[in-house]
């Protein structure tokens, strides 16, 4: 492998051989939280949909917090916070993380609009409908941001959607808009197979 190979960074020892001692319980704070948070917000603000979501978050005092975690992200209603997980050694949010943040901000917005998350007070059918509706809504927001960014000449969100397995859904969004065709495809791809 040559040093300019895309895999050269992968080679070598992972992490410090002697880990730092565990002092004072679990520390979830990301060491570069503010830098990462600013990068996420800057990326979202490049599209109209992202700007609208950030404005909604500001108006409703929804916090965006970056924590040390791998793959653990989401809007936690009890904390009125969107938590974004990123490994402590990393300080650059991937396009996937930026799209996820948009989806979680949308989840917060839906909560404020009165669309409850599925809970035990609902029948199983109503739970399923509430779940599917909110997930499809978040995916639509991700498609909108991807499309708006692509129209400005940026392709990183398109690639991210492909990596996340949402390529077909995005194609449907581009072709037919966020209508019944996209909903039908959503059920075919994400619900019926499970």
């Amino acid at each position: 492998m040559t040093q300019d190979s895309p895999f050269s960074n992968l080679q070598g020892t992972f992490g410090q051989s002697t880990p730092k001692p565990n002092v004072g319980g679990v520390d979830y704070n990301h060491p570069q939280e503010e830098k990462v948070r600013q990068a996420i917000m800057a990326a979202l603000s490049q599209t109209q949909t992202g700007q609208d979501l950030l404005e909604m978050a500001s108006q409703n005092r929804v916090a965006i917090r970056v924590i040390k975690a791998k793959g653990a992200s989401g809007f936690v209603p009890e904390a009125k916070t969107v938590y974004i997980g990123l490994a402590p050694e990393l300080s650059t949010p991937s396009p996937e993380i930026i799209l996820d943040t948009a989806a979680y901000l949308r989840q917060a917005q839906l909560q404020f609009l009165g669309q409850k998350n599925p809970d035990d007070s609902m029948s199983s059918v109503d739970q399923a409908i509430a779940f599917d509706t909110k997930i499809l809504d978040s995916l639509t927001v991700m498609c909108k941001i991807t499309s708006e960014s692509y129209e400005k000449g940026h392709t990183e969100f398109v690639d991210a959607m492909l990596r996340m397995g949402h390529g077909e859904l995005y194609e449907s969004f581009k072709r037919d808009g966020p209508g019944p065709q996209m909903k039908e495809l959503f059920y075919k791809l994400y619900i019926e197979v499970n």
Binding site: M1, L10, Q11, V26, K68, G74, I135, T155, L162
Partner: protein, 205 residues
């Protein structure tokens, strides 16, 4: 993820104790008893440690943190090597040729690579990392994939030649694991070109 498909739900008392043990001293609120569930699973390479998963179902989709611990002390799997190496240094690691592939699968499932996630591909037919690929790409991977080869070097390190999925590409890597579970990738070879059209023109963008 290998060997952790047998999750066991913790009862209410143990869930309360776990939430209390892993709560932060700061201002984060991740889990509360009413909306959260805790479960655990055995790992074949630890003697007295289990993997624990705390999930908050009030978030949509649900929001989970993973830990390794002994039921009293928990190491939050935060994407770095630190919690795994701390657990290894507690004397509970028991690596063998039979479980070292499980170990590196677990390791890379919980440690971020420098430029993206790394997935050990043991069985290409059953790996969530490859779910997004189309039939042609899956056929290429199945054609290129080779089973893992596990040997030991003269220093007592395990040397595993295995397929990895990294940067949307199948890579054959040589991974060295020492007795303390420290992981070192000593060689990589690309087996196929990237699965993505990075121009963004691969779909009707």
């Amino acid at each position: 993820m290998l060997a952790t498909n047998q999750w066991h739900k913790l009862d209410r008392d143990r869930t309360v104790a776990m939430i209390d043990s892993v709560k932060t001293s700061g201002d984060h609120i991740f889990f509360s008893l009413g909306t959260s569930e805790a479960k655990c699973a055995k790992l074949p390479f630890y003697k007295n440690y289990l993997v624990y998963r705390l999930t908050n179902y009030s978030s949509l989709p649900s929001f989970s943190f993973d830990y390794i611990g002994d039921g009293r002390t928990y190491h939050h799997l935060d994407g770095s090597t630190t919690p795994i190496y701390r657990a290894n240094d507690s004397g509970n690691l028991s690596l063998s040729a039979h479980n070292v592939l499980d170990y590196i699968s677990f390791f890379f499932a919980h440690v971020s690579g420098p430029d993206g996630d790394v997935y050990v591909i043991d069985n290409p037919h059953d790996n969530p990392a490859l779910d997004a690929l189309g039939p042609d790409q899956m056929a290429s991977i199945q054609a290129m994939h080779q089973p893992a080869d596990i040997t030991m070097d003269g220093s007592g390190n395990f040397v595993i030649a295995t397929s990895l999925w990294y940067l949307d590409t199948l890579v054959r890597a040589t991974v060295q694991v020492d007795a303390g579970g420290r992981v070192n990738i000593t060689g990589t070879q690309m087996l196929m070109n990237s699965s993505l059209d990075h121009s963004g023109e691969g779909v009707n963008a």
